[in-house]
């Protein structure tokens, strides 16, 4: 039994199927990168794991417990599973510090002093301790995304989902965000990451999962997937990535 299991997960928006039976087993401390063309279901898969989307078939299990379907405590689940979005989604009316401390205070019931101390430690870790009282609009995209990451980390999640977190960034800001992800991976956090940053995936991932039209077409170590992809679709996809200079 793996730490996080997706068993035959199906999800559709109305008539339009997005996930058509995805099965995926992820061990604790693994870093898994989801790759595939836009619209292949990467983001939807992550949103399902976080219960931001309901699934129509199959189940999702975290640490042995079924965490999908009716009647589950979504708020309890989300305390264990954090997510960071492509467009940061910081709360624009709150300072950086309040963005980070909101959930620890209001959901975990921690004291403000306690939560702020933790937030400052996290901010320091990502090099933003001086931005504690700034507002999101005053930060660069890279800074905003770093804040979004530690906002998720402040809940001490067991799994962190990263949904194309560098896709909305200017190229020169991508590294500062990826460096943090690399750090987290080295610390042993379980990470599932939808990404187009193939070189990063190759370097950091334990497992690469190639999604195509809502199914897992191929999965394996970076060496296997990038070195000798067996499926024709994977080969075509990776060829295009290489042609675009992304690998």
């Amino acid at each position: 039994m793996a730490f996080l299991e997706l068993n035959d997960v199906e999800k559709s928006y109305g008539e339009n199927p997005v996930l058509r039976g995805v099965t995926l087993h992820i061990e604790k401390h693994q870093v898994v990168c989801l790759i595939g063309a836009s619209g292949c279901g990467k983001s939807t898969l992550l949103r399902c794991v976080n219960a931001l989307e309901e699934i129509q078939g199959g189940d999702i299990r975290l640490d042995g417990d079924v965490v999908s379907g009716e009647g589950i405590d979504v708020n309890a689940l989300r305390r264990k599973v954090g997510i960071v979005f492509q467009s940061f989604n910081l709360f624009p009316h709150m300072s950086v510090l309040n963005n980070v401390t909101l959930s620890p205070i209001r959901v975990l019931g921690r004291s403000r002093a306690d939560a702020e101390a933790q937030a400052r430690t996290l901010l320091k870790r990502v090099g933003l301790e001086e931005k504690a009282s700034a507002f999101p609009d005053q930060l660069s995209g890279g800074q905003q995304q770093r804040v979004a990451i530690i906002r998720a980390l402040a809940m001490n999640p067991e799994v962190l989902l990263l949904d194309e977190i560098t896709s909305a960034l200017d190229p020169e800001l991508v590294a500062e965000v990826l460096n943090i992800v690399r750090d987290l991976a080295e610390d042993g956090l379980t990470i599932i990451m939808a990404t187009h940053e193939m070189s990063f995936a190759q370097e950091v991932a334990d497992q690469i999962v190639f999604l195509h039209e809502g199914v897992v077409l191929e999965q394996g170590t970076p060496k296997e997937i990038f070195g000798a992809p067996t499926h024709e679709r994977t080969q075509v996809f990776l060829k295009k990535i290489v042609a675009a200079g992304r690998l």
Partner: protein, 369 residues
Amino acid sequence: MTSDSISVAQPARAAQPAPVGSAQNTLLAGFLFSLVTVGLAVYACYLTIIVAETGIWTLVLGAATGIVVLLAIGTFVPLIRGVKQQARSTRAAANGDVVEARTYRSRAAHSAWVALGSCLPIVFIAVFTLFLLANDHAVQTTFFDASFMAKSVRDVTIAFGENIKIALLAEILVLGWALFIALARLMPTDAGRPIRWLATAYVDVFRAIPSIIVIYLVGFGLPLAGVPLLSDLGPTWSAVLALTLTYGAYVAEVYRAGIEGIHWSQVSAARSLGLSYGKTMRFVIVPQAVRKVTPPLLNDFIGLQKDTALVTVIGTVDAFTQAKIYSSNYFNLSSVTVVAILFIIITIPQTRFVDRLLARDARRQMSKG
């Protein structure tokens, strides 16, 4: 005049020939309109001085119309500048300097438009003055009788306190009540559907009924029906209740628009951090929505403040009731004009205040750090 067909026929001379005529036409229109303006202003000034018995208003109006005449004459300043620019354009065109001809023609046309634009408010003021002086300045004495205004101003202003009291109490209640209704209208899931219907019905009904009817029904109906508690409200609290009911419906829609205007990704972000629906609303969505809807909210509050004058129908002695007592005793409406002026005095600073708040908010979010 240079027509398009000629300029197409001579493409070698200029890529974009200067149509000299158009600025001349605008200048001509400017001259005619300025003349009319001066005429009206002089006439208004003349009438003001001629018909007047000496009094404070005659002095004020005389001085004002004098200034209007000066302003009207002032519209010739940009016109003369325009004529000079036009002449320079024509000269340049004759010398074959197309660029300079075009530049100065454009400037001449702009000068003419400045003159035309300045004429409009001056004409408006002159016409308004003439209206005041109409029928042997009967309009002026009916609406703006200075001595009568002075006589009524004290009592009317004191009674205006009642309007302010009703408005403030109703506004405080509306802020909470309307948010409650808005959140009820946005209740999620099937379980919330009956609540959504109820809230929608409330909003539909109270936006449909004119506030004067609600005030009348609440003010007279509740005491008549002898409902416990509600029938002992008294006219002031009846008015507060009626206005809260009416404006609660309007402001609920304002809140709802604000809440729905917050991007769904904010909800995703909040929910993904483990915040419940209620906490997401309370800490993330509603605070942002309130900021967004401050201007329309204030518009509705200004409407509410003005509607406090309607309480006169249930016999509350507010500024309007007090002014009507004066006006019916003296057959003169100037006391009611005092009420109008009082409303203007309290309203304009509020709109400026909100503008400033919004600007400060925008600055704080944009430029710090």
